[in-house]
Each structure stands twice: as C-alpha cells, then as structure tokens.
C-alpha cells in the first residue's frame, strides 16, 4: 500500500502535478533525515541541506519519468540519500565517522572477542542470565532504547533504522546499504543483539538492578509470571 502510494505520488509529479510532491516529502522527510543523521556523523548541520538535495533529485527524476523503473521506491529513495551523503564528503577520509567514534567504533564489543562473536553478543545481551521479569512503561523503554541506539556503531544504527524503524524489507535494506542479503541479515541480527546489550548498559546506568527489565512481554512464549514484584 505504501509502495503503491509512493508510485502514485511520483506518477502525479511526472504527470505535471508538482504539489503531489509535497505529500511525498511530508511522508518521507523524517525517515530520510534520520537516515542521514546516522550517515553524516559529525556533520549534523548538513543533514537538512543534504535531505533537500535528496528530495530535489527525486523530484527531478520523477518529473523525467525515471521512477517508473524501481520496484521499490523506498529502497531507491534511501539509496539516493546514501549516495548524496557520500557525495557530500567525497575524498574526505573518515569524514562521515564522528570524531569521538573513530577509535572506538566497535570497541564496546571488542572485549568480547575471545568468544565466538554472535555468542558473545548474546551473552552481553543477557543470554544465559537468570533474571526476573519486570515491567517498564512504554515511555521508559523507548527513552532507554533511544539512548542505547546512540551507543551502537553507525553500521548497526543504519541497519536497525532501515529494517526495524523504517520497515524496509530485507531486499530493500540490502539494496540501500549496498550489501548482499545474507550480509544484511547477519548485520541486522548482530545489531539487534548489540542493541539489547546496550539497553542493559543503559538500564544498569540509570537503575542499578534493572538491567534485565528489557524482557517485558510475552512475545515468544506466553508463560505465567513467576513473580510480580
């Protein structure tokens, strides 16, 4: 439905109704700007400029009828955004990596390298830890989650953003990120485990003893809660 709506809006632009593009921009500006924030590192001041470039490029392509080809307008849009971010700082090595992260990207998880990476990530995320279930409010969870997201390497933030926040399919995300599907899937799984681990750290920092409150609902297997307090 969303894809159809994008096709319809871009077709309207091609048919000479530029105002349809305002609807398109309103629909996608938050996602594109958020994606660019993860891509542009220290250059947050450039996010809106680059986002405008992206939409301008999309508009011109739509007006010229180039958008009848992509099967996924969303993947195309975010690919345009990725290229625009790269073009902005072409030739500037490390320009897109925030200064404070250039030496520490992945360092958060480096100490876990003595064990198989996925297993290590699982352990960091609380796998194998006996903890009571507890409940945080949705608002508390979302605040903690946003803090946890900020702690992740950019590549992990990007795959979580396009797959889980923006809801792109695996194929779409692979196209946007320039990865093979299998690599995208692997990166996504690792990123989710990193997020769960970072969430534990955030909750530990904020409320000692609350690190395992991330396990909250009965999403996988409904079981009677052993304790209520």
């Amino acid at each position: 439905m969303s894809v159809d709506e994008d096709h319809a809006l871009l077709a309207a632009v091609q048919a000479g109704e530029p105002r349809a593009f305002a609807t398109y921009v309103r629909k996608h500006e938050a996602g594109v700007r958020r994606f660019l924030r993860t891509l542009l590192g220290d250059h947050q001041a450039d996010v809106d400029d680059v986002a405008q470039e992206v939409f301008l490029q999309v508009f011109r392509a739509a007006r010229q009828g180039e958008t009848s080809m992509p099967t996924s307008p969303r993947a195309w849009l975010y690919t345009v955004a990725r290229h625009a971010a790269a073009r902005r700082f072409r030739g500037q090595r490390d320009a897109l990596v925030p200064a404070h992260r250039r030496d520490v990207d992945d360092a958060t998880f480096r100490h876990l390298s003595e064990t198989p990476p996925l297993l290590a990530l699982g352990i960091a995320a609380g796998w194998g830890t006996e903890t009571p279930e507890d409940v945080l409010t949705t608002r508390e969870r979302q605040q903690a989650l946003r803090s946890a997201l900020q702690r992740l390497p950019e590549a992990s933030q990007q795959v979580l953003l396009v797959r889980d926040v923006l809801g792109l399919s695996g194929d779409e995300a692979a196209e946007v990120l320039g990865l093979h599907l299998a690599a995208q899937k692997s990166r996504l799984h690792r990123a989710r485990l990193q997020l769960a681990a970072a969430l534990r750290e955030v909750l530990h920092a904020e409320t000692p003893g609350a690190a395992d409150r991330a396990g909250l609902s009965t999403a996988l297997s409904p079981q009677p809660s052993p304790e209520s307090t």
Binding site: A22, V25, E130, Q223
Partner: protein
C-alpha cells in the same frame, strides 16, 4: 572433526535438535518470520522446554518490537522543511 564449543551457561541444552546457541542464532529469523515451518517448529519446541531461551527470546523479541514501535513520526518542523523543498523546486534552476 567438530570444533569444541565453549559452554557459556551451565544449563545449555539440546532440545528439538537445537542447542541453545543455535536458537540464539535464529532469533532474528524467528521474529522476522523467515524460518522454514520445520525450523520454526523446532525453535518453538526448544523454547517451550528451555527456560533460558524462553526468557531471552522474549526479551529479544520485545527489544525488536520496541524499536519497530519507534517508527518514523513526522519531524516537529515538517512544515518548514517541506516548504523549503517546495521552494527549491519552484525556484528557477
């Protein structure tokens, strides 16, 4: 020759043909619905019999559900930003 596998938890077990760490590796495929029916059934059988995987699987699925719920709501300045783009479009280039 099979590689020795470290035992991160004392009670890791094999249930429904899957070790706990194998379930760990399949959790994203499970929550994304990309497992085969047989593999999905094995994961569910394992989780039903394994308290560790039930607990962690629930926690993992909740984290995924929570990040999905963040969504991409319009920015506070959506009107200003959209107007800026439309002004660029309207301006002679």
């Amino acid at each position: 020759m099979s590689h020795p596998r470290p035992a991160p938890v004392d009670d890791e077990q094999q249930v429904a043909g899957l070790w706990c760490r194998e379930v760990l590796a399949m959790l994203s495929d499970y929550v994304d619905g990309t497992l085969s029916p047989a593999a999905r059934a094995n994961v569910e059988a394992h989780v039903q019999a394994c308290a560790n995987c039930a607990r962690f699987g629930t926690s993992f699925a909740t984290v995924v559900a929570d990040i999905r719920a963040l969504g991409a709501t319009p920015s506070d300045d959506v009107d200003t930003f959209t107007a800026g783009v439309m002004a660029l479009i309207d301006s002679p280039s």
